[in-house]
Each structure stands twice: as structure tokens, then as C-alpha cells.
């Protein structure tokens, strides 16, 4: 949507409703500057994030996915973010094994009062994704419609 055709990183963020989403709101109201690269989906808890969502985001062409939740010990649902922690570790390792740069999936603990941290996270992540380049994992013009094997 930029004026020039130069690629800009597009990030998808899953922010937990109680901490990270509030933190992101605070970043806004505090007028913290950060790149307009992230689109946010609010989830009740970071533990809601199914590996499916992350793969779907990559499939759709997002260049990076951020999963952000409450700090350990502060989860509104007591234990949700502990499971997130385990899950994200597994997903990152598995994506790397598949040949996907693990830097495309990032996680953070951002509390409701950490507006500054949220802005920092998005700024740093955007720069890292910019260096990784656009996500072309699932594009393949030649094979895209799958009909090349048939006459």
C-alpha cells in the first residue's frame, strides 16, 4: 500500500488480550513510534495460538509472525503462557528443520504496562524480517495450480 513498489515487511501479531494487546494499545496512546508493519489479531491468551495459525500466516504470505503474551507467572489464566513457551520452542525448531528461517516466528512477553517494549519488539522484528527478505516460501508459479502433471 506504500507509494513506491519497494517491498515492506508484513508481520502478523497474535497478542493476548490481557497483557500484550493492552501493551500495544498503550504504545499507541503514548505515541511511541514503531513501523506500520504489523497487523494484530487479539486472542484471549497466547496459549490460544495453534501452530496452525502460524503456518496459515506463512502460507498467506506474511513475512513474519509474532506471538506475544503475558510474562510467566502473570498469565490471566494462570498457565496458558507456559504452554505457549513450550509450543513456540517446538514450532521454531521444526520450522527450521523444514527449511524455514526460524527468525520468521518470534515470541515476546509484553505486559499491559510495557508500551515501550511493544514498540521496540515490533521495530526490531521488522528490521530482522527486512533482512530476511520477503516470504516466498509458498509461491511457485510453475506448480501453483497443480495441473502440470496432467495433459
Amino acid at each position: 500500500m506504500g507509494q513506491d513498489s519497494e517491498w515492506q515487511p508484513r508481520l502478523l501479531g497474535f497478542l493476548c488480550r490481557w497483557c500484550s494487546y493492552a501493551g500495544a494499545d498503550l504504545a499507541g496512546t503514548s505515541r511511541k513510534k514503531y513501523p506500520a508493519s504489523i497487523r494484530v489479531i487479539r486472542v484471549p491468551c497466547s496459549g490460544r495460538v495453534d501452530p496452525l495459525f502460524i503456518l496459515k500466516a506463512l502460507r498467506l504470505g506474511f513475512d513474519g509472525v509474532l506471538v506475544s503474551g503475558c510474562h510467566p507467572g502473570d498469565c490471566h489464566y494462570q498457565t496458558g503462557n507456559y504452554f505457549t513457551r513450550r509450543r513456540m520452542a517446538i514450532i521454531k525448531r521444526f520450522l527450521e528443520y523444514m527449511g524455514i528461517d526460524p527468525g520468521r516466528l518470534q515470541a515476546s512477553w509484553v505486559s499491559a504496562s510495557e508500551g515501550g517494549k511493544f514498540a521496540e519488539v515490533v521495530t526490531e522484528m521488522t528490521q530482522e524480517i527486512r533482512e530476511l527478505g520477503p516470504n516466498r516460501l509458498f509461491t511457485d508459479e510453475e506448480r501453483d495450480n497443480g495441473t502440470k502433471t496432467a495433459p
Binding site: P51, F94, L95, R143
Partner: protein, 331 residues
């Protein structure tokens, strides 16, 4: 301890005991159904036998070709059942118990000490003949005798066992009600590295090459879902691929969608997969699915020292946590 269960004599004894026990369980009304193996309709094949008829128990067999993981049938039967389980199968049963899908008291586990199942694809590769053109395959201790056109050929059993048998961590079930024979050692004690050969070679590739490899493999996928349906860990009544609102993954065999399906499937069964190898065996188009499943198994083992199906009291991997879980990757 040398493998003791593979001699025909021993097999015969285990088999007779199995038939006796299974029949008795049905006769005494202790179970309503027995799940085991019987001779298949193709050479060197067994097929699941699921029956409530005590006379059918005469058909039960113990065979070096009994590859199926029968625990996949546990989530479909009602009442109390008896089930024949090799070591790996018993781990799947324990994993299902951990997940609360199976109640321990509802299964009578008939444990079979197993020192490996023969992979017919490997035998075919060794002798250069299709399986129905091989006259005989017999296991004799740690050797396998293959007869083709009257010529006998011998090879060490490790050359023709399934890859996951080479990495076997539980040849003898630890959770059982009846154990059919003496505990045995895994045939592949020294072969664990061999079972990871394909994975290791993938790990040495550059990320782009790895992705290209999987992209190529999944171009063959026809979305038959055999991999999912043979897997005991995949017991969802409605799989995510069957969801149409929203359509997470289209049911079409495009490599992007097929690859996404398999990656998410492996992530969903993380910590519950016991590396039984059935997914790869079932795939009709030869996609090396175990190279995904085993990698996941090892990731989980490395990150959390967790192995599925070892302890029925333990909570499932992703239903518990440690304060010391790795989090150096989290900002």
C-alpha cells in the same frame, strides 16, 4: 540379551499362548473384543483381526511382518478390549491413556516382546525383486533368509528392519496385563544412528535445499490421509483440514496445501508421537514422513527430555510445563 522371540519355535509358543489367552478372555466375558493380527491376504503380510467371536482367536498370529500399530483402533471400540501390543504399540496405548482417550481399566494389554518388524521395501531393494516374486523370507535369530527362485540369501536382520525399529527404545512393553514371552532386546541397539540417516542428511542441507526437498516430496501427495488415519495420536473427530469455516487448508493436493497439512499435523501430535513409523509405511506414494515425525520426536526429547508413552501417570507434554523451560528465544 540376544533376541529370543524370533525363532519359529518361540513364535509358535507365543502364538499358542496368545490364542489361549484371547479365547479365555472372550469366554469369560472379561473383554467384548480382541484386537490382534491374523495372516494377511498377500505374501508376507498380516492384517488386523478385530473380533468378539472366541472361535476367531484361532486365527491370531505373531509374525515378523506385523507392522500395524493396533492402538489406532482403541478409540473406535466400545467396552473392554484386549489388544496385542508390541513395545512401540504399548507406548502409543500409554500415550492415549495420558490423553484420557483410553481408560487403563478398559484395555487388557497383551504384550509381545518384539525385536523388530521386517520392512518389505528394504527386502525388495536388497534382492531387486518385488515382494510377490520372492519365494520366502524367514527370520532366524539376528539373520534373515531370503529365497528367490531357489537361491537363498542371508543378511543381518538390521539391514531389513524398519528404520524406527533400528531406534527402538522399548522392544518389550512395560505396560501390560499379559506378557507373551521373555523380555527381549532391540535388534537395533547399535543402529540408532542408521535410523536417522535420512534426517541427518537433511540437516546438512542448506535451508533452501531442505524446503525444495519437501516441496518436491509433497508434490506427490494425493491427500488420501492414510498417514493421519493410521496414526493413533490423530484421534480428532474433526480434523483441522476438514474445517471449511474458515478453510484453513484446502483439501486439494497442491504441494503448498499438502505440505502445510503435514507440518501442522506433526506439530499437533508433538509429544504424542512414539515413532511407530506407520505414517511412512502407509503412504502409497513413498513420501518419507517418518523423517518429519522422528525429527519432532527428537526435538521434543532434546528440549524437554520428554518421550511419549513412557509413563501413564505423566501429563502430556503440552499439558504441563517446567519453570526452567527454555525461553532464551523469547524477547
Amino acid at each position: 540379551m540376544a533376541p529370543t522371540d524370533c525363532l519359529p519355535m518361540k513364535n509358535g509358543i507365543m502364538e499358542q499362548r496368545l490364542r489361549r489367552e484371547a479365547k479365555a478372555l472372550l469366554e469369560q466375558g472379561k473383554v467384548s473384543c480382541v484386537i490382534g493380527f491374523e495372516a494377511g491376504s498377500l505374501k508376507f503380510t498380516t492384517t488386523p483381526l478385530i473380533t468378539g467371536d472366541k472361535d476367531d482367536t484361532q486365527r491370531l498370529v505373531i509374525s515378523p511382518f506385523m507392522a500395524n500399530n493396533l492402538s489406532v483402533f482403541l478409540t473406535g471400540v466400545k467396552g473392554r478390549v484386549a489388544i496385542v501390543a508390541k513395545g512401540c504399540d504399548s507406548r502409543s496405548i500409554v500415550s492415549l491413556i495420558q490423553d484420557n482417550k483410553v481408560v487403563r481399566e478398559d484395555v487388557v494389554i497383551i504384550g509381545v516382546p518384539c525385536s523388530g518388524v521386517i520392512d518389505l521395501t528394504k527386502v525388495e531393494g536388497l534382492v531387486g525383486k518385488d515382494r510377490d516374486e520372492i519365494a520366502d523370507i524367514t527370520r532366524d535369530g539376528d539373520k534373515v533368509l531370503i529365497t528367490v527362485n531357489g537361491d537363498k540369501r542371508e543378511c543381518p536382520v538390521q539391514e531389513v528392519l524398519f528404520d524406527n525399529c533400528l531406534a527402538c527404545e522399548m522392544p518389550t512393553p512395560q505396560e501390560y496385563d499379559i506378557l507373551l514371552g521373555e523380555p527381549t532386546a532391540a535388534a537395533g541397539d547399535k543402529e540408532k544412528a542408521k535410523s536417522r540417516e535420512k534426517i541427518n542428511s537433511l540437516e546438512t542441507m542448506k535451508p533452501d535445499e531442505r524446503w525444495a526437498f519437501w516441496r518436491n516430496e509433497f508434490s506427490r501427495c494425493i491427500r488420501c490421509y492414510a498417514c493421519r488415519n493410521v496414526c493413533p495420536a490423530c484421534f480428532c473427530e474433526r480434523c483441522f483440514v476438514e474445517e471449511t469455516e474458515p478453510p484453513w487448508v484446502l483439501p486439494i493436493p497442491r504441494w503448498q496445501d499438502s505440505l502445510m497439512f503435514q507440518v501442522v499435523r506433526n506439530l499437533h501430535v508433538a509429544g504424542r508421537c512414539t515413532d511407530c513409523g506407520e505414517c511412512e509405511r502407509a503412504c502409497p506414494v513413498g513420501i518419507p514422513l517418518r523423517s518429519l515425525a522422528r525429527e519432532m520426536y527428537d526435538i521434543v526429547g532434546e528440549l524437554f527430555s520428554y518421550r511419549a508413552g513412557m509413563d501413564k501417570e505423566a501429563p502430556p507434554l503440552l499439558a504441563c510445563y517446567e519453570p526452567t523451560d527454555v525461553e532464551d528465544f523469547i524477547r
